[in-house]
Symmetry: C2
Subunit: 449 residues, 2 copies
């Protein structure tokens, strides 16, 4: 008899490993923050899969019964502006510049650290409750984001947004680099929080800023993250300023490389896809935000065909307006079918990978999370399928993408810690967060009056 800290059993395990191994009637054992065994329970010893550290029967302090449901890696939201939960539904269905200039920018100029703290805690509550265990954030006051993630027990890659004008957080541009470097040093050893260098975009960051940001990222060995080719307006602006398209501009500056994570990539052509692929740039697809803001449709099937790693993100709640990656998976699968008039593109398994292992690869965390494998950190969720809308189940991937939604997540474990059990959040005080969020929203209404 081997001892584990947590046992999850009686469910179909979708490992999302390189062989897309599925273990029916599976059992998964966790010790500390690490997965120690994946296979079938002792009564089926003869059918047991190889590779588990222990093969005998296992007991644990805590046992979670999946009740015939699905056990899979926690989802990875590869692009968020978490605190924008507090702007959810503030303004919708407007032309982009009216939305930005009359609502988002005025509100953001009044924000402070506590606003970001509360908004991020609200986002963490929503993300955990809809199956996300790792998120990648770009916003202001990111020290607060890192602390909120730590409090929630969520894994994250975060970075302070830097651009060519003063910030409500750090003030003058130069201090943005100092703030970022301090973040990197302060969180370097943290088991959950990872830091990136995050210049906002090519149209808000001049060459000097981009080069300096790139130097810091390379020097500190952390990812460089920016918005790239999101809108037609951006494309036109960059062409006007530099006489070339965004991807070429990045290439000429020497910024294309395996350290770069490019969000959106809506307006890119074939040769740019080839450039990104050759440079091993990682891309994050945000279909709902791109649709809602009418930015366009990113050529994701083409990028995947060229071998580019593509993760999935919700973007901020002001342009989505939720952080539910199940809805995002559904949208990603259906949007490209409609766009290509081909029902075979973006099949359910491909999309599930985008939200799990490919998301981890996009963030450079594939050694730690994104799949269920012995030796990896225990980041996993359990889906309850005993509900009318999840009956019957012929194919688990189809179920996840086309039928399940965030609310169907029953349990969540991050880094070996049970953070949600039977939909009860164990790390956060939801009522307190809701109350504080409502207070903040009353301020927002005054700011944009």
């Amino acid at each position: 008899m081997t001892k584990a800290d947590i046992l999850v059993h009686n469910g179909t395990i979708l490992t999302m490993d390189d062989q897309n191994r599925i273990v029916p009637d599976g059992l998964l054992a966790i010790s500390g923050n690490t997965i120690r065994y994946i296979g079938q329970p002792a009564r089926n010893a003869s059918q047991r899969e190889p590779g588990g550290a222990e093969k005998g029967s296992v007991s644990a302090q805590k046992e979670l019964d999946a009740e015939g449901g699905l056990i899979l890696p926690g989802l990875i939201n590869s692009h968020t502006h978490a605190a924008m939960t507090l702007f959810r539904g503030l303004a919708d269905d407007l032309p982009l510049m009216q939305w930005l200039n009359n609502y988002i920018f005025p509100a953001e100029s009044k924000m402070d650290a506590d606003f970001v703290r509360v908004g991020t805690l609200l986002a963490c509550a929503e993300m955990i409750m809809s199956g996300t265990t790792t998120f990648c954030d770009m916003y202001l006051f990111e020290e607060e984001v890192a602390r909120a993630a730590q409090e929630a027990g969520m894994r994250c890659l975060v970075g302070e947004v830097i651009y060519d004008f003063p910030s409500p957080n750090y003030g003058e541009i130069e201090k943005g680099f100092i703030y970022t470097e301090a973040l990197i040093e302060r969180w370097r050893e943290d088991p959950l929080v990872n830091i990136a260098v995050e210049p906002h975009s090519l149209f808000t960051c001049g060459e000097e800023l981009l080069l300096k940001a790139n130097d810091i990222a390379l020097g500190k060995d952390v990812p460089l993250i920016l918005h790239l080719a999101e809108t037609k307006e951006e494309l036109e602006e960059i062409e006007k300023r530099y006489g070339k398209r965004p991807v070429q501009h990045l290439k000429d500056l020497g910024l294309l490389g395996p350290h770069l994570i490019a969000d959106h990539c809506v307006h890119i052509n074939k040769s740019e896809i080839a450039l990104l692929a050759d440079s091993k740039v990682r891309v994050v697809h945000n279909p709902e935000s791109n649709m809602k803001l009418a930015s366009g449709i990113s050529p994701v099937p083409e990028m995947i065909a060229k071998g580019i790693t593509v993760g999935l993100g919700t973007d901020g709640c002001a342009s989505n307006n939720n952080l539910d990656l199940f809805g995002e998976m559904d949208m990603a699968a259906k949007l490209h079918k409609a766009n290509k008039l081909d029902p075979t593109v973006m099949d359910a398994q491909t999309v599930t990978k985008m939200a799990t292992i490919d998301g981890a690869r996009a963030l450079g965390l594939e050694g730690i999370t994104g799949s269920l494998e012995v030796g990896k950190r225990a980041d996993l969720i359990v889906i309850d399928i005993n509900k009318p809308h999840l009956i019957p189940m012929y194919n688990p991937y189809s179920h996840l993408v086309y039928a399940a939604r965030g609310h169907d997540v029953k349990h969540s474990i991050i880094d070996g810690n049970l953070v949600m059990e039977d939909r009860r959040l164990l790390t956060l005080d939801v009522e307190d967060i809701i109350e504080k969020s409502k207070e903040k929203s009353r301020k927002v209404k005054e700011w944009v009056k």
Copy 2:
């Protein structure tokens, strides 16, 4: 003090009436199957809205506290094949003909009445639990669908699918008309069930069948419902057979009129939109199914601009794979923004109307349901907004379309009967339905082996 049977209070009432009236801190009283009062509670008597039958304080046998949430008309799913819940996820991401010929048609040929009964009960459970109170169905064994809806307490418009080949239900074509006429007579006085005449489509129904179906619909004063211009293949087939496009073919047969409900209308051009508008044909939009099957994108903004009434449907669970109209609203709003590259099209209020009052208009039930108005039948739902993903709330329409999902529906009342309270179904035995659905799915696996 006036007596009511059910009182719903402490919520924001979205009436969806012609003025889009919203009643904050609203109270709604139901006697029998009818809405008797909508306004604010007695303590705010001075602010009370006119038009209520009673204006004093009201007491009731049953009081439902909306806890600050949203009270709105029950949603209307204007196009379903309800029993196809049992094919949910059976086959996805396949070319259309492979999907139909290898999976759907073989399975449907083996179906019997009990299969449709169980599948429809499963669909009713899913629909009520995701906020739908009325659905419009086309399938086989529709007597079973009507009975299942009656058992579930759901309002519906249903009809037996008729086409140019024998049916596993009624046998030879001629019996399809007899079966349909019997349905119409049997259910004529039912408070919940309404019957339509439903020839499948122009490519499965010849001229003779279409003309006869039309005669019955006009003679019995019930709607005529068919799939129209869903796929490019249909368009090409009709052009090949008749030398004209589907809408013109219908016009030449004399079938265009206010009695016609046309599902899909994906492949229609400007002049066809004008024809449909002039003829007062009603249309049902099914964005998720059209996307998943890669049928194309229906020109819905153009149809609405021309004054066509457009309802919203999920289509069957084999091509969606869920019956959640909240997800469908989100998809409808975002799809057309992306398609038109215009964030202002299909705003949240327009889309909410499609799923409520415009759905009722599409089905000819606008005198009965689709809005909350004194004298109308009490079909309504309550949304619980005390959850992280629904905090804060700036705009209720935005919340419904972009953030809420089926699971956020807390209570449901249909025709004055409480059918779901605190997410517990009161009319159906969910565990029994789930068990029977699993049994049926085991048979389906054998059928398509």
